[in-house]
């Protein structure tokens, strides 16, 4: 195995035992990037022969180990553009809280940022102003999105591990499509300060890693109360690695009937059922549960998320930073800047969200969506009275082909059908590799738990992982 193929915890052990030096790890990473990045395009603004000038300090817990960061998380002095023309050349004058936390744990910020759907608007990483990322398992397929760059970089061993952001499945779905581990923490668990907002009430930053242990390590580092984020919760962060290696005897897992419906890929269904059997064979107790408002999650999401986005993205107007179109009239400057700076999906969502908030439509759309959001949350509360977690597919299908859904936004929106409810309810969920289709595309298993019970996710996910080999299979590039 090459160094770039190892997990972060394996590399940390080797560094600690002086079996390897940091530079060798970086050399291996850069060699891999030079070799496969032209095919995968996991990174935004990548230039061949660019070693990007990383000069890490080999100290602290992470010993200088690099972390790949999604392009929507602010890194001081390092371009952060949300893969949008409207933020071209934007260099934040500050670091996101997660970046500070990583740095103070001895991590180094990888100078290349991961590709993504513009402003995280998408499920395929096709909506990037830098062009699409390709799925390492099949270059003609999408890596999922919006954190497709982060997931593809980890899956192709172009990154040790990565941070993504998840508003409606943007960590879990690409993790599932790329055969890696992705966690969306409880809303409020990880500070959003420095995460360029898509939908403030749904966004969370989370890890994308090669295995569950890495996810536990990274989640612990980035979690915790942040006085700069009013929505961050002041609750102590457990050492998630304590949840690893525990048995799962008697853990009650709920299987929601609404997640196994028409439109679900037959192979995916089979693989998920096998995964559930595996968990049962390890001692988990399963039962059928109902989340009756599941079918309303996508419509609620596309109102709540776009309404918040329409306001969050109003600041991109060519005044303080980013792209500005030429005009000698202010309103025209605004309109041209935003017409030229935003991509098609961004404009669609901003206009949809503006409509949902506008006079005469607020009650029918936005207010109603918030009410149904309550019903969706209540569904989960009811299930968690009797169950420790909910197990379901991460996505109804494996990775689809590039361009396949690009022309039909509604079909694209429906690909998030299994991940969106989790964001609406604010609960944590993880996606872990649980098998492959006949065509060699990975399938992800999603586990959801009560708010602030990430420990349950790690416990179950780790037990599954330790008794399967899926996470060890690498794409051939």
């Amino acid at each position: 195995m090459e160094l770039n193929q190892l997990t972060a915890h394996e590399l940390l052990d080797k560094l600690k035992n002086r079996q390897v030096i940091l530079k060798s790890i970086l050399d291996a990473l850069y060699a891999r990037i030079q070799a496969v990045e032209p095919k995968v395009k996991a990174y935004a603004r990548f230039k061949p022969n660019d070693d990007a000038g990383l000069n890490p300090q080999a100290n602290g817990f992470l010993g200088g180990l690099p972390i790949t960061i999604k392009d929507n998380i602010c890194t001081e002095g390092l371009n952060t553009e949300c893969c949008s023309k409207i933020l071209c050349n934007f260099r934040p004058p500050y670091d996101a809280t997660v970046i500070n936390k990583l740095k103070s744990s001895g991590g180094s910020i990888f100078p290349l940022k991961a590709n993504m759907d513009e402003f995280a608007f998408g499920s395929s990483t096709e909506n990037s102003c830098f062009g699409p990322t390709h799925n390492p398992w099949n270059l003609e397929c999408v890596p999922g999105g919006s954190s497709g760059g982060s997931a593809a970089a980890v899956a192709s061993d172009e990154a040790v591990w990565a941070l993504g952001s998840d508003t409606g499945g943007s960590i879990r779905q690409p993790a599932s499509f790329c055969g890696v581990v992705g966690l969306k923490p409880t809303y409020g668990r990880v500070s959003r300060f420095g995460l360029i907002a898509f939908a403030s009430s749904l966004d969370q930053i989370g890890p994308i890693t090669k295995d569950v242990e890495d996810a536990a390590i990274l989640t612990r580092i980035i979690s915790g109360y942040d006085p700069s984020d009013s929505t961050s919760v002041n609750q102590c962060v457990p050492d998630y690695t304590d949840s690893l290696g525990k048995d799962i005897k008697g853990v009650r897992i709920g299987i929601p009937g609404e997640y196994f419906i028409e439109g679900m890929d037959a192979e995916v269904k089979l693989i998920i059922e096998e995964a559930v059997n595996k968990l049962k064979s390890l001692g988990a107790v399963s039962g059928r549960v109902s989340l009756p408002h599941t079918q309303y999650a996508v419509p609620v999401y596309y109102i709540v998320a776009t309404a918040e986005a329409s306001s969050n993205l109003a600041r991109f107007d060519g005044v303080q930073y980013g792209y500005r179109a030429k005009s000698d009239n202010l309103i025209e400057m605004y309109k041209k800047t935003r017409a030229q700076g935003f991509g098609e999906e961004a404009k669609r969502r901003i206009i949809l969200g503006t409509f949902a908030l506008s006079h005469g439509y607020y009650d029918a759309y936005y207010l109603r969506a918030l009410k149904v959001r309550t019903l969706i949350k209540n569904d989960f509360d009811a299930v968690f009275n009797d169950f420790d977690c909910i197990v379901a597919p991460t996505s109804p299908t494996p990775a689809f082909r590039i361009g396949e859904k690009a022309a039909d936004p509604l079909q694209m929106y429906l690909s998030d059908i299994y991940t969106i409810s989790v964001n609406l309810a604010g609960i944590p969920a993880i996606s872990i590799p649980c098998g492959f289709t006949k065509n060699g595309l990975p399938v992800g298993l999603q586990i959801m738990a009560k708010p602030f019970n990430e420990e349950m996710l790690f416990r179950l996910a780790h037990a599954f992982e330790q008794n399967t080999q899926w996470h060890k299979i690498k794409p051939r590039l």
């Binding site: 934040p92 109003a314 908030l357």
Partner: protein, 477 residues
């Protein structure tokens, strides 16, 4: 037809906190443009707001001073509109759950107390400043994010004078609370006015105009006065009015319609997902209430009760916090039983000294013990009231004790009967004509004779005694 004027005022008040509403930037005006800013108040992507505790405390204090009901549940909303002085292109404000409602302010209107309703007091943030040049506008964000309160009155004001009185009283109370500089010229207090006219006795409100751009209380009054006559003219000539915003032009003394092609504004208010709700406990409200300083109304009542002052005198003395404090110190020190004497001195000679010097009463550099000794000289008739005023002026200028000034200027009154009789004899001899006309019944001849005595004694004769002595001489004979 006679018309009734209906006015409602909207006051925006900058709170005197050390830092801005949602970030730690120090509020310090008159500095270099864009030097008091940070990523948060510049609306940089990824930044988040956290509200200032002191601002909330100040706001509750102010709302309570106007007897508003503090709402148990309150939240921030976003008011969305594009303008270059608004860094995020939305203003954090309050919409349907304001901090407080249903207060009032009693104003002295003529000689009657009139109660003006306060609809709501809510929290928001200030915008930056624009400087318009010929082809461009320049933006300074130093002011962006300063905490503001919006104080909305009911349309209970019925004349420009009442509006002026409302503002004066409002400012006085706010000064007592010490939560704002309240300086309209510096922009820490701003006022917009809604004004409409309706036929006397009509129930329905007329079409209103919203007046902006006034930069003094007098400006508000003048703009309203102009508007009353403009609207009266329109109504009397049978023209229809349209609801509009009008700008006050101080130099020309007119209001001008601010035509906008925008049509109706649609601010798309929605709850700000970056901020949490506030649940304001009754205990906290009671605590703040118990810590409220004595407000002008209460102070006035106490002055009347404790010191036996008339309502008129008390009202004048409490019309500014610092003057009231100065006056009370003087009154307390004054050993006499009739405290009204001291009040007369404060409202009379002291006030006019302050007036001459163009300073506030409390700024007079006068030693209170010396002031009392001066008053004693008058009360035991050692000097005349007239002389006392001269002494007071010299006391303030030279800081010499009253007794020294009286001695140096040889001002002690002549109250010795023999000495006075001698002067009186001379005057009677020299003014036979006046003596005769007095004897023939013309009583004002007496005043003339007393005046002659005062003149001869260089103002030192005790006028009361002189009058009595002349009277006795002329009627006895």
């Amino acid at each position: 037809m006679k018309y009734q004027t209906v006015i409602g005022l909207e006051v925006h008040l900058q709170l005197k906190t050390k830092t801005k509403a949602f970030c730690g930037c120090a509020i310090d005006f008159g500095q270099t443009p864009n030097s008091g800013v940070c990523p948060v108040c510049l609306g940089f992507p990824g930044t988040l707001p956290v509200y200032n505790k002191q601002a909330l405390g100040f706001a509750i204090k102010l709302a309570l001073a106007f007897s508003c009901q503090i709402q148990e549940h309150t939240k921030f909303d976003r008011k969305n509109y594009f303008y270059p002085d608004l860094p995020k292109n939305y203003q954090i404000s309050q919409f349907d759950l304001p901090l407080s409602r249903n207060g009032y302010l009693d104003i002295l209107s003529g000689d009657k107390i009139k109660r003006i309703g306060i609809t709501r007091v809510h929290l928001e943030e200030d915008a930056g400043k624009l400087i318009h040049e010929s082809n461009s506008s320049l933006v300074d964000f130093n002011r962006a994010g300063v905490p503001l309160l919006e104080i909305v009155s009911e349309p209970d004001l019925n004349s420009p004078q009442e509006a002026f009185d409302y503002l004066t009283n409002l400012k006085n109370i706010i000064e007592y609370l010490d939560v704002s500089d309240c300086d309209m010229e510096k922009g820490s207090l701003r006022c917009d006015a809604n004004i409409s006219l309706r036929p006397e006795g009509a129930k329905e409100l007329g079409v209103k105009a919203e007046l902006k751009n006034m930069n003094s209380f007098k400006g508000v009054k003048d703009a309203l006065t102009f508007e009353v006559s403009r609207q009266t003219g329109l109504l009397e000539s049978g023209q229809t009015m349209s609801q509009e915003t009008r700008l006050w032009d101080t130099d020309k003394g007119v209001t001008v319609s601010m035509r906008n092609k925008e049509g109706a504004k649609d601010y798309r208010y929605f709850p700000d997902p970056d901020l949490t709700v506030f649940i304001i406990e009754q205990a906290m409200v009671s605590l703040i209430k118990s810590q409220l300083p004595e407000l002008p109304q209460d102070k006035m009542r106490r002055f009347m009760q404790d010191y036996g002052l008339s309502e008129y005198d008390a009202k004048i003395l409490v019309s500014s916090k610092k003057n009231a404090q100065f006056a009370e110190e003087c009154i307390r020190k004054y050993p006499g039983t009739d405290k009204k004497n001291m009040a007369n001195w404060l409202i009379g000679p002291l006030a006019s000294e302050a007036n001459c010097r163009k300073i506030d009463l409390h700024e007079l550099n006068v030693n209170k013990d010396e002031l009392i000794s001066l008053i004693n000289f008058v009360e035991n008739q050692s000097i005349s009231h007239l002389s006392a005023k001269l002494v007071l002026a010299q006391m303030i200028d030279s800081q010499k004790p009253a007794a020294v000034i009286i001695r140096e200027n040889n001002m002690l009154q002549i109250s010795d009967t023999a000495e006075l009789e001698e002067i009186i004899s001379g005057v009677i001899r020299e003014n036979e004509k006046s003596v005769n006309s007095f004897k023939s019944g013309k009583t004002n001849a007496l005043m003339f004779l007393v005046g002659q005595v005062m003149k001869k004694s260089a103002g030192k004769a005790n006028p009361k005694m002189v009058g009595e002595l002349i009277m006795r001489r002329l009627t006895d004979a």
